[in-house]
Amino acid sequence: MQNIFLFIRRYANLLLFLFLQVLCIYFIVSYSKYHEAAFGNTANKFTGRINNRFNRVEYYFQLKKTNDSLVKANEVLYNKLRSNYNIADSVDKIVIDTMRIDSILQYRKFNYLNAKVVANSTAAQSNFIVITGSNVHTFKKGMGIVGVKNDVVGIITEVNGDYAVVMSLLHKDSKISGRLLKGGETGTLSWNGEKPNILTLNNIAQSTKVAKGDSVVTSGFSATFPRGILIGRITDTKKETTNNNYKITLRSAADFFSLEYVYAIQSADAEPVKNILEKAKASVN
């Protein structure tokens, strides 16, 4: 017994060192649990408030860029207006079904809610974005986030009071499905942790036609993002030697260095899809 105490006293520093390292590695491995822990919430609120203060200053330096991107987004939207198009045949007539007007809400699948970015990182291997705004209290874990030009940015991982934390596409655990706009094949999108704005698309068979400059869009398989939101454009394709797939590199459409405003996508399908999935899982088990 005495020897044990002697041992502990002799190696107290080493033991403390090992204990703290193990604690850190535990935090790293189980970071998602940390988000739900009470301490994580306090830390989030505290850092969120400080970040918000500093962002007010930083915001002015980005005003020009933000303005440019908003003008471009507006241009795209104006070009989609119905009054811009000629009707193909003068005999045709646009008729709006009056039956649907009352129940128009039922036909809306996705709703965009704006939010302001207060903190954003690109340097680490696991990057998060913190957003705030008047809509934050309606946000939920798992909602998709797009930039002002309607390009994929990330997915909400935590909501807490006035702030929400978004797992950026530039996160080593970020996995969303991407679809080739031309062919329609879907693969898994991930980030290899090296260059920001450069993503990889896996699980595309070598039999598909892929060319540089092709667009990769969201698949719409999950209720997180609507179908066909731009993720990025292909910059390079390589044939993998170990399997029959391509390794596709693409440049993300969203500019992660200068995010100022984003939109959260509220999906009407999210709840029912989640419920039915849980039911299916329960019945299998």
Binding site: A12, I25, F27, Y31, N127, F128, V165, G193, E194
Partner: protein, 177 residues
């Protein structure tokens, strides 16, 4: 100014400079400028190793909470806090200099070269451990090595600049009084 107040101010300043200035600079994906750990390297000589590690852990953890990645910087900080006393023993020029001076500096380490080596080794350990933990699943050894060495060089440059900006007067204390 008492040592406690001085170190608290230092901790806050380094933390804010790291989060709001250095982390916003995108030099290259190979280079992450980090300076915040200089706070731990500048802590007094006479501080016990256990306290050094606990303070380093808390300090690293606060930095981690800004980026919502708990553990990474805390682990690296604890590592350098643990090995700092060994290096102090190796690099301190004569017997008892750590009792005569308050904290590591060019003067107390006995010249610029030992000081730079001391800082260089600790920042190398810090960056290496940080990138190793971050890159756990990538396993590209050359990428890791180049990134560590380049980041350490930038860290050293920043440390020298910090040393020039914050002139620290080191009083020679004798233990005879």
């Amino acid at each position: 100014m008492s040592i406690l107040v001085k170190n608290i101010i230092r901790a806050i300043v380094f933390l804010f400079v790291q989060v709001f200035v250095l982390d916003k600079i995108h030099l290259h994906q190979m280079v992450t400028p980090s300076l915040y750990f200089l706070f731990i390297l500048w802590l007094p000589f006479k501080m016990q190793r256990a306290w050094l590690m606990v303070i380093a852990f808390i300090y690293g953890f606060i930095l981690d909470s800004f980026w919502h990645n708990p553990g990474f910087h805390a682990a690296a900080c604890v590592l350098i806090a643990y090995i700092r006393p060994f290096l102090v023993n190796i690099f301190i020029p004569q017997e008892g200099a750590d009792a005569n001076f308050e904290e590591p500096s060019i003067k107390s380490m006995g010249g610029l070269l030992p000081y730079i080596i001391f800082m260089g080794i600790l920042s190398l350990f810090h960056n290496a451990w940080l990138f190793l933990l971050e890159a756990w699943q990538f396993g590209n050894i050359w990428y890791f090595l180049v990134k560590t060495i380049l980041s350490t060089a930038i860290s050293l440059l920043l440390i020298i600049i910090a040393e020039l900006i914050f002139v620290r007067k080191q009083k020679f204390r004798t233990n005879t009084v």
